[in-house]
């Protein structure tokens, strides 16, 4: 902190006044010096654990067998690839995350459009709509499990009964849908917030001009509002994907990884804390990083490119 106080221009006046180039070089040097502590901290905090993970992934180490620990080369990776659970988990992650993100974004768009008009009690409605995002994930999963989706006393089956439909054993019969429901419920407000900000940043003059030109509500939305929202949709999808990739609580509390809900984070948890296989879990972790980097750099870029060629140029 003290470093911040000494800027080069406040040096003793006895010194020769530096030329322009010297002063710029010094400024750069000081800026770099100021950057170092933060950079070093983030390297220590992010890269050392990663290197350690790689180290552990090369170890044969079950925590309940302390005597049998040692270097095992790439054996852990071989068993990760040979065992089918990595690929099926990857599929489950893509399915659960993808569906929830798409559903959250679509619903978020709907609610954002509804909340964008002024009506009495808009502030209250907005606060209520945001609430699910503020509930702790574990608490939300418990509420869904006990109050809403309980087979005998839950509200969902009560509602189905009102319209004459048979009750559903949610976690047993429809585990994937159950998880997607909870996640969509929780992340719709998040998408809604971002899209609402986008809607409110829209230029009213353009909308007025469209109305003057005789465009209807649907045409205005499709040709003017949607292209304007594109960046906001991208951000919402990106951030929601990052958060949902790590989702754990509803799976642990409700379906326990059954019926196609064993996502990568739950698989990692199981290998590390149920199997107590430190080496194998670390190998799964490293594989996850690799696959995610590939997916992120190839798939997402392509996806966004599709968006931008189909959309209207900014």
């Amino acid at each position: 902190m003290t470093v911040l106080m000494t800027t080069p221009t406040r040096r003793r006046p006895a010194r020769a006044v530096p030329t322009g180039q010297q002063s710029r070089r010094r400024r750069v040097a000081v800026s770099r010096a100021l950057l170092w502590p933060a950079l070093a901290t983030s390297i220590v905090l992010t890269q050392i654990p990663f290197v350690l993970t790689i180290y552990y992934s090369l170890q044969r180490w079950n925590m309940l067998r302390p005597g049998d620990r040692g270097f095992t080369g790439l054996d852990n990776y071989v068993s990760v690839l040979r065992d089918g659970s990595f690929l099926s988990s990857l599929g489950a992650t893509v399915a659960v995350t993808g569906t929830s993100v798409v559903a959250s974004t679509l619903l978020g768009m709907l609610f954002a459009v509804l909340l964008d008009r002024s009506f009495v009690g808009r502030g209250v409605a907005r606060t209520l709509m945001i609430t699910p995002f503020l509930v702790m994930p574990a608490a939300a999963a418990l509420v869904w499990k006990w109050s809403i989706l309980d087979a005998a006393t839950g509200m969902a089956n009560w509602g189905l009964g009102l319209v004459g439909l048979p009750p559903v054993a949610w976690n047993t019969e429809l585990p994937m849908l159950t998880i997607i429901l909870v996640l969509t419920w929780q992340y719709t407000p998040f998408a809604m917030l971002i899209l609402l900000a986008g809607l409110q940043a829209q230029d009213r003059d353009v909308l007025e001009a469209a109305a003057v030109d005789g465009a209807g509500a649907l045409r205005t939305f499709g040709s003017i509002t949607l292209p304007h929202l594109r960046q906001y949709v991208e951000i919402a999808v990106l951030l929601a994907s990052i958060m949902l990739l790590q989702v754990f609580d509803p799976i642990a509390i409700m379906t326990r990884g059954t019926g196609g809900t064993k996502t990568l984070s739950y698989l990692l948890y199981e290998r590390a804390f149920v199997g107590l296989e430190v080496g194998e879990a670390a190998a799964y972790g490293v594989m996850t990083v690799l696959v995610t980097i590939v997916v992120a750099s190839v798939a997402l870029r392509t996806l966004f490119k599709v968006f931008s060629t189909e959309g209207i140029d900014r």
């Binding site: 992010t46 654990p49 990663f50 350690l52 993970t53 552990y56 079950n62 925590m63 309940l64 302390p66 005597g67 309980d150 087979a151 005998a152 054993a169 949610w170 976690n171 047993t172 585990p175 900000a197 960046q231 991208e234 990106l238 990052i242 990739l245 790590q246 409700m254 326990r256 990884g257 059954t258 019926g259 064993k262 984070s265 990692l268 948890y269 199981e270 290998r271 590390a272 804390f273 149920v274 199997g275 107590l276 296989e277 430190v278 879990a281 670390a282 799964y284 972790g285 490293v286 996850t288 990083v289 696959v291 995610t292 980097i293 997916v295 992120a296 750099s297 997402l300 870029r301 966004f304």
Partner: protein
């Protein structure tokens, strides 16, 4: 607010990579950990003991009463760290396996005691307990003690223990005109369950929630009594044998015909809920549940319940055996003080103290014979104490099934790999409960997994 176009492009992979990295780190968070030795040295000076325990009601009672111990031993203070069962297992495994030495006393389940003892993680308590005539180590329930003994050495002391039994709602069974024998067979129980089952009431509640300690606690006892087993005496996996399949098929069919609607959600707590609200007529589960069902404050069926031995097919008994035990890790710096506390918390005097201070129904059950001779306890737990004691003494952890086995334990296999094995098989079983898969392929995969774990023991 918006990022520039290029920055955004780069932010996407970087952000996702960071998220993935976070995932990876969670995986190895278990590897670090550890602490810096005990607090005070041996002999002289005040000693501070750290006790890591599950947050069960009986353990909370122990914390409430610890001041009585501290008054008797002014130079010892005891700090409790309460955790969920899974958290405790992780925390203690990590601490002990990495020589952390954070804990002077730990509560360990009966599944882990032999494994940890063989790893050299627990101190041998045989001498400390046997030399003290007042402590009366022979008063501890024999089957429980057997499960905690490795090569004739006792590595932990039971704080409380349980078996499993059949609990049934007498009103619902009477209404259907059926009576329950004291030693029912599974076939009788299944018939009664299907008879009683109606739109409003489930015939029976049986755990279906994935996890080696969830569905496979009752299910392994069913497998045992059907004549099946996870392994034979030479560690050959027996999951592909017809008895194993028959038992699992029986269990799944019974749940589907007359059991709870949502088996994958249903564990101990959910069944307790169903039975105590009168929505399930029968339940096979831990004996400690009886105390909760008979509590009029939380249960609508208090006084209406009947109890019978766990149903059997080919064996005499099929109750399981579980105990929460106090043990002292090898890494402690305060062994003498820790022994003092362990003896106090598992003594006859402690049971008297709980009875007089907190109420007789809260005395830790299933640990000592003498507990069942305390008149006040017999009165407070009249409906289930005698049968609990009978079952606890009758079960045989050395050979719970038809064939001999090479481990001690009933509803689990005492090898490190079992929690992983049980967990994976129970997840596949969820597909069978849901009708997404047949039983045969699930058991085929289970056989391979089991054989892999069995080979590690040979």
């Amino acid at each position: 607010m918006m990022l520039t176009r290029t920055a955004r492009r780069q932010a996407a992979p970087a952000g996702l990579a960071a998220a993935a990295l976070a995932l990876a780190l969670t995986a190895c968070a278990g590897a670090g950990g550890g602490g810096d030795g005990g607090s005070a040295g041996q002999g002289g000076g005040p000693v501070e003991l750290t006790l890591a325990t599950v947050n069960n009601p009986q353990m909370k009672d122990m914390e409430e009463l610890k001041s009585a111990f501290e008054e008797e031993h002014p130079d010892i203070t005891v700090n409790f760290i309460q955790m969920e069962e899974n958290d405790l297992r992780d925390a203690v495994t990590k601490d002990v396996a990495t020589d952390g030495g954070q804990y002077d006393i730990v509560t360990v389940g009966s599944y882990e005691v032999p494994i940890w003892a063989q790893n050299g993680w627990l101190t041998d308590l045989t001498g400390d307990l046997g030399s003290d005539a007042d402590y009366d180590v022979d008063d501890l329930f024999e089957p429980v003690k057997d499960a905690l003994t490795v090569d004739d050495s006792l590595y932990a002391v039971p704080f409380y223990g349980e078996s499993s039994m059949l609990m049934y709602n007498k009103e619902l069974l009477d209404a259907a005109g059926v009576t329950m024998p004291e030693h029912p067979t599974w076939q009788e129980v299944a018939d009664i369950a299907r008879e009683v089952d109606s739109d409003d009431v489930d015939g029976i509640c049986l755990r279906g929630k994935p996890g080696w300690g969830e569905v496979f606690a009752p299910l392994t006892t069913v497998v045992n009594t059907f004549g099946g087993s996870w392994y034979d005496a030479e560690w050959n996996a027996q999951v592909d044998q017809p008895e194993f399949a028959e038992a699992v098929q029986f269990y799944v069919d019974l749940v589907e015909d007359a059991g709870e609607a949502d088996p994958v959600s249903t564990g101990f707590t959910e069944c307790l809920n169903n039975v105590s609200q009168g929505r399930s007529a029968m339940w096979v589960d831990a004996t400690v549940a009886a105390g909760l069902l008979e509590d009029p404050e939380s249960s609508q069926v208090a006084g209406k319940m009947g109890y019978a031995h766990a149903p059997v097919v080919e064996t005499e008994e099929s109750g399981w055996l579980w105990s929460w035990n106090l043990a002292i890790p090898e890494t402690t710096q305060n062994r003498d003080a820790a022994v003092e506390f362990v003896k106090w918390a598992t003594s006859k005097e402690y049971h008297q103290l709980v009875g007089t201070e907190l109420g007789w129904s809260r005395v830790p059950p299933g640990a000592r014979n003498s507990t069942y001779e305390i008149p006040e306890y017999e009165e407070a737990a009249a409906s289930f104490a005698p049968i609990t004691r009978d079952i606890m003494l009758a079960v045989n952890p050395e050979q719970p099934g038809v064939a001999p086995q090479s481990w001690t334990g009933i509803q689990y296999v005492t090898i490190p790999e079992f929690q992983d094995l049980g967990n994976q098989v129970s997840q596949d079983l969820a597909d069978v409960f849901a009708g997404r898969s047949e039983l045969a392929p699930v058991l085929e995969r289970a056989q391979d997994l089991a054989q892999e774990a069995g080979d590690a023991q040979k």
